[in-house]
Amino acid sequence: MTPLLSVRGLTVDYAGRTVLDGVDLEVEAGEAVVVLGGSGSGKSTLLRALLGMVPAPGRVQAGELALQTDAGRLDLTASGAWRRARGREIGMVFQDPALALTPLRRVGSLLTEVSGDPARTEPLLRASGFADPAPVAARRAFELSGGMAQRVGFGLAVAGEPRLVLADEPTTALDGPAREELVTRLRERAAAGTAVVLVTHDVTVAAALADRVVVLHRGRIVEQGTPARVLGDPAHEATRSLARDVPWALPARHPAPRPGDAVAIRVRGLTKSYAGAPVLDGLDLDVGGGEVVGIAGRSGGGKTTLLRCLLGLERPDAGELRLAGIDPAAQGWQAVRRAVQLVPQDPRASLNPWRTAAQLVADPLDFHRIGTRATRRARARELLAAVGLDGLADRRPNALSTGQCQRVAIARALAVRPRVLVADEPASALDVTLQAELIRVLSRVVAEHGMAALVVSHDLHVLERLCDRIAVLDGGRLVEDLPVARLRSDAAHTRTRDLLAAYPTDPLTGVAG
């Protein structure tokens, strides 16, 4: 049987820099192939090349790039072939579903454009996971939540009944349960005879979805086989790092009890609503001195709003805040920020692209008028050295890797010697290897400085390694609050159970045997 998709000798270079180097790939109908690779492995470029959308100045060369269709073999390198193939023969699930949908168009009209038949809109939406599709079809794309947008994005990818569905890191913007749902949908598709090619850095997705795992490293396929073989017994260094250097394989935090320390964060009756819809509903929260507390919850559960209220970026409707013993309402936010600092969500986006690493790290000292220009500069260099970035002080974020940006962001938060750190989804923009690195660096600095910390994330694996205690936020209140050691055994609330199911102790146990 001829394979559905045949790729031979696919090479892509950007202005002489080779990103993909002689990749061969064959995919059968009904097969789910997961291309696994870290940042810079060329996995996104592979997907773009399969879709004929390599951006300038990329140059694509291939010995063969062909798709089996009803009308015979379609040579994708022939002129005009992509236009016939995209949507009808090849569907695409994008990384950020909200960005992939034209915001002002209605969901129904978007789907009809691809499927060609308005009557198919409702069955498509139902098959994408909407129990009640009619109101969804009438909504405009910007009115969808992140989870809904991902379902619609999936619906769009399969609306043209494609033989091949491509997916570009579709799970990074999703929380655990939403990720599981998408994987289930893709599995259903594969069972129905569609070929699926998904690229990701997340071994969890590979383990749950793949018939075959292909590991990409520096533009070459270094290993492939069944998930059990590749992930259970990795032969190549790159695979080992992706499968073993993961958050859940790290030791848990050893809490250092610091009795007598002042309360780090105290929140009473925090309430906030947007346009009449309550997001935070009388929330109470305590973080002790030297304690690290995780706030878990699904997207849309109020995590971001809580964080923005705690950082003074959002004014709560009601409630009392006390951070590091300071009442922002009485003493002002500037006094709070002198003692409470932020570790941001996306390290690269959080750093001003025009400033050097040393300037960025010295900035908080400047904001709070600590020291002189010379001592600030010296402290910045010292902090950069402490996170392993000596010699890079004069680089700007563009000239740093994502992992290095993340270290700059952490060094920056430490500059004023805060008593409390607040971390906003600190791992969500990172691949698993960098997540593991983040956890190591963050646990070390928190322990070294005896700081208290509040970590907000949907990723239970990350929270379990960083925190002493995890609280689950749902519907604007904390519905669960347990020490990490007892979370998996004692959790009572269904929301917590859902999250725990989506982040099993070791996601690879089933596969690796």
Binding site: G9, G52, V54, A56, P57, G58, R59, V60, Q61, A62, G63, L65, T77, A78, S79, A81, L311, G312, L313, Q334, R337, R338, Q341, L342, P344, Q345, D346, A349, S350, L351, N352, P353, W354, R355, D363, P364, D366, F367, H368, N398, A409, R412, A413, V416, V422
Partner: protein, 290 residues
């Protein structure tokens, strides 16, 4: 083996765009510097006194001595075009600097203000933008009597508004960037945010708008002078010269050539610079983002 379809579509579609920004910018900048240098060095370049009558025969077509001919008073057109550029370019340039400063200041103030003041400021600015500039300038000229400074004074009243509007929206979007939010959470004050987050994001778009608006202002000033509202005889100014040339269009058509080409080349150069800057800055913004 190279796949011809793939590599060449990539090349064909993208490369001309990449080349265009730089080419336009360079061409525009070269033209503009020639015009500016020529007008600035008018006292040395110009062969004759621009207002002296009878330096040559009357209404003579271009020849070796008078490159652009002479007008009906026997004044040298080339000298008048060069000196006229000083009025047009320098005064317009000063007016542009003033409207940029006013516009940026208003835009920053409104952009930093709370929601209610922002709303008010935005409506005010939109109102000024919506008002036809020429009518305001004509009203001002009506009050002050026709002169180049009255035209430019009138322009000063309205021309700042597009700059204010652009600055306000740039300030808002810059403050919403992750890096600005992170800096605020770490304790950054307004001065720092303006200097490091807002400032660099203002420069490019404002430069583009300046080039486009300067071209329009020059055309407007020349147009109003042409109608007799701006510079008065015997002062040399491109628009006023065009008006004089119109009177003699049947007998000495060559008179249109000098001032007409001067306005055309200047506006064209400024437009090239504006468009070119936008293309180049767009691409460097993308490079910064990736």
């Amino acid at each position: 083996m190279t796949v011809p379809g793939l590599s060449s579509t990539v090349g064909r579609r993208r490369l001309p765009v990449v080349g265009r920004g730089r080419g336009l910018l360079t061409a525009g900048a070269v033209l503009l510097s020639i015009v500016v240098l020529a007008t600035l060095s008018a006292p040395w370049l110009a062969p004759f006194d621009p207002v002296a009558q009878g330096v040559g025969p009357r209404s003579a077509p271009p020849d070796g001595e008078h490159w652009l001919g002479t007008d009906r008073f026997g004044r040298d057109t080339a000298s008048r075009v060069l000196h006229g550029g000083q009025n047009t370019l320098l005064q317009t340039g000063a007016t542009m600097l003033a409207v940029i400063a006013i516009g940026a200041a208003v835009g920053i103030a409104v952009g930093l203000a709370g929601p209610r003041l922002d709303d008010l400021g935005r409506r005010l600015v939109d109102g000024v933008v919506a008002f036809p500039a020429v009518i305001v300038i004509l009203a001002f000229v009506g009050l002050r009597g026709p002169s180049l400074s009255a035209v430019l004074g009138g322009a000063l009243l309205v021309w700042w508004a597009p700059f204010a509007r652009l600055t306000r929206s740039l300030v808002r979007s810059a403050l919403a960037e992750s890096s600005a939010v992170a800096a605020r959470a770490l304790g950054a004050g307004r001065a720092h945010l303006l200097r490091t987050e807002v400032g660099p994001r203002l420069v490019g778009p404002l430069a583009v708008l300046t080039a486009v608006e300067a071209g329009q202002l020059i055309a407007t000033v020349a147009g109003l002078s042409f109608l007799g509202m701006g510079a008065q005889p015997p002062a040399a100014e491109w628009g006023a010269m065009l008006a004089e040339a119109r009177g003699a269009a049947l007998t000495s058509p060559h008179l249109v050539l000098g001032p007409g080409l001067a306005v055309l080349v200047t506006v064209f150069a400024l437009t090239c610079v504006g468009e070119g800057l936008r293309d180049v800055l767009d691409r460097s913004a993308q490079a910064v983002a990736s």
